[in-house]
């Protein structure tokens, strides 16, 4: 039976990770209780399939157990760090060789048909987000927003994002930075915090 609830519930995140480094299984169970919902959410959004998301989610927590020293509490928040770990692993999954192969096969099969346009994919990704997230993203310039949505939620590299949007790579780089900085300002202004 699941027995992770109740372990060191009052400990701070850095205290928990320090306890994980000491080999305290209950501490990693408590980290799981606090943040597996967020880790799972990002893995599922980016991977798009349950089995890969499960692999990603398990790997993130097993990795925290194996190498807790990789989290530096001076640098950032545990939740953000775990979400970033999960995102990186999920992106690895979608960019795996299998995915490349499938894309090539599809391109060969559908050569005369134009590829799906980035704005359709961005619109469908955006549509799947929570209201408050969509509201924040909608306050960005549409070009900046689409670049961020395709890269972060679609798991596309900035080069792929540029191709999907039919924009120069340098332009997309600027849009991503401008959009991300804008998002930080908006979230800060609205007092949205972790």
């Amino acid at each position: 039976m699941t027995s992770y609830a109740g372990a060191a519930p009052s400990a701070s995140d850095p205290e928990l990770v320090a306890a994980v480094a000491q080999g305290d299984e209950q501490a990693v169970a408590e980290v799981y209780r606090r943040y597996s919902g967020a880790v799972w959410a990002v893995a599922q959004r980016v991977c798009g399939d349950r089995a890969s998301a499960e692999d990603v989610c398990q790997t993130v927590f097993v990795d925290l157990w194996r190498r807790p020293e990789r989290f530096d509490p001076q640098r950032g928040k545990l939740r953000s760090w775990l979400v970033a770990q999960a995102h990186a692993r999920a992106v690895d999954v979608v960019r795996s060789e299998t995915a490349r192969q499938r894309r090539q096969e599809r391109a060969a099969r559908l050569a005369p048909t134009p590829p799906p346009s980035g704005d359709v994919e961005a619109a469908s990704l955006l549509a799947s987000l929570a209201d408050h997230v969509r509201r924040a993203l909608d306050r960005l310039a549409a070009d900046d927003r689409d670049a961020i949505v395709l890269a972060y939620f679609g798991g596309h590299s900035y080069r792929e994002t540029a191709a999907l949007l039919g924009a120069p790579e340098g332009t997309v780089k600027s849009r991503i930075r401008r959009g991300l900085e804008g998002l930080r300002r908006l979230l800060e202004a609205e007092g949205v915090t972790l």
Binding site: V42, D49, W65, L125
Partner: protein, 251 residues
């Protein structure tokens, strides 16, 4: 000096690349250059953490997934058979260190990921086998619904692979779920029009075991998406978008 938010690009701080790195949208040498810089630049580490905090706010907490027992099995297996014969968790805190080779996208991490994935397969192998065993059982479900006729929409998954299409014939429009995997019980695929600012539900389209679903698409619909939802459906998409594409009607 801190690379604060601003328009000017500093020679010393690769701020464009840092933002793209935070989105995991930088690859290869470009990603490594950022990792090397971040390893030696405290202000860029801080900037990256601030980006990650903002991105983390885009992710909503869901309920914990039912994976704890699999995680627990793995960490107990680690304790029983420590890597390299050395204890995994020595007594006393180790020094905090920034291990460049174990950066988020570093080769060592990829290898660790593969090893961990192999271990996951070992732990949940029975579950995976069961899932695969249920696959490919959709034949015969096309009975009564023709899937002939011109294709008016192709829906692709996040990898760009075609997984579903819409054909039009005497039965009206028919959604053909060619390659969407069967869902676990109590989940269903739901079709959405994503033309406007908010997605509009076009109904539940089965759990991936029925391959052809007759539709009545509003004439105004031109962009479709399919998401993975609880069996009763949702008012707005809550699960991952598994396919999307545009409708192109013949003139």
């Amino acid at each position: 000096m801190s690379p604060v938010i601003g328009r000017q690009r500093s020679e010393r701080h690769p701020l464009d690349d840092l933002a793209i790195y935070a989105l995991d949208a930088l690859e290869g040498d470009e990603a490594e250059e950022v990792e090397v810089h971040v390893a030696v630049c405290a202000s860029c580490r801080q900037e990256l953490a601030a980006h990650e905090d903002a991105l983390g706010l885009l992710i909503e907490d869901g309920p914990p997934p039912a994976l704890w027992e699999a995680v627990q099995s793995q960490i107990r297996a680690d304790e029983a058979a420590p890597l390299n014969g050395t204890p995994l968790h020595p007594v006393g805190p180790g020094p905090a260190r920034l291990d460049q080779s174990a950066g988020r996208r570093g080769m060592r991490r990829r290898l660790a990921l593969l090893a961990a994935a192999a271990a996951v397969v070992a732990v949940v192998g029975v579950g995976v086998g069961t899932r695969l065993g249920n696959d490919g059982n959709g034949s015969g479900s096309l009975a009564g619904v023709s899937i002939d006729g011109p294709t008016v929409a192709v829906l692709a998954d996040a990898h760009g692979a075609d997984v579903a299409r819409v054909v039009t014939n005497d039965d009206g429009d028919v959604l053909v779920l060619e390659k969407l995997p069967p869902l676990v019980s109590e989940r269903s695929y739901q079709l959405w029009s994503v033309d406007g600012p908010r997605p509009v539900s076009l109904g539940l389209v089965g759990d991936g075991r029925d391959e052809a679903v007759p539709l009545s698409l509003p004439a105004s619909t031109s962009k479709l998406a399919i998401s993975d939802e609880p069996a009763g459906g949702s008012a707005t998409p809550t699960g991952p978008i598994v396919a999307s594409g545009a409708i192109v009607r013949p003139a």
